[in-house]
Amino acid sequence: MIASLWHDLVRSFLAGSFWYQVAFLCFALGTVIPAALVALSRNIVHSALWLLPCLASTAGLYLLLGAELLAAIQILVYCGGIVVLILFVIMLTHGVGHPDVRVHNQQLAWGLVAAMALAGILLHLLRGEPWHVALSWAPPSDVTARLADALLRPYVLAFEVASVILLAAMIGAIVIARAERSE
């Protein structure tokens, strides 16, 4: 099953334009391989650093899909914000970088089985579906302007709620992480 899926995928993939395929392959491998290293690396600092190429390649995939603003947001928020935050917390919690510390719990084998089963099911579904997609690849013009339009007209409520949630998360994080007073 996997072999025939692979055959279908490769054949339909090769029908496309060359440099797009090359760029897609680079970004796809740059997303999946660092992600696997994030999950399996023995050193937690290495895991956090492998997150950087993974997220940057995801931004590259967004660029290939024509979502430039999302790619910029991805770089700014994920690579610039979240990874730095994760590295800070790793350095504030010591004793986790020792090489002799076990990094996986005792369910590693079952976790591998579950993840592979999930991947297999997803690949099977991916193959069974015809995926009726648009036939023309007409470039959507002024994507960023239309995204801003969508965020501030039909989805303005979600936009405002998201900003309130960000404020609440900021205050909550400060309150939770503040050092406890002794009295």
Binding site: V32, A35, A67, L70, V143
Partner: protein, 107 residues
């Protein structure tokens, strides 16, 4: 550029599915709470790739896919900030961030 898409949608969905499975693997098997959080970030990214791919291959005129992706990134930032604050507090109390050693309520 107005011809057929340069590649079909399936490779994007394949990358997204593999990324999601890797995120599940990290969440299920890592002991460090920070690594579990990284696995969650991987899964959110997989969902985002799907949103953007379906936005583009659905014609690119309806902006809902990108709006969803923006919201997911916002929620991921908020969630990471609160989760890391909680992890810091847990570390202060238990002197560990390994999720299998934080078993105060285990009977």
């Amino acid at each position: 550029m107005s011809g057929p898409p340069p590649i079909p949608i399936q490779p994007y969905l394949l990358v997204s599915g593999l990324l999601f499975a890797i995120g599940v693997l990290a969440v299920l098997t890592r002991r460090n709470a920070i690594a579990v959080l990284m696995g969650i970030e991987l899964m959110l990214n997989a969902a985002n790739i799907n949103f953007v791919a379906f936005w583009r291959y659905g014609g690119g005129r309806q902006m809902e896919g990108q709006v969803f992706a923006v919201m997911v990134i916002t929620m991921a930032a908020a969630e990471a900030a609160v989760a890391l604050a909680i992890i810091l507090n847990v570390y202060r109390r238990f002197k560990t961030v390994n999720v299998d050693q934080i078993n105060l309520m285990k009977g």
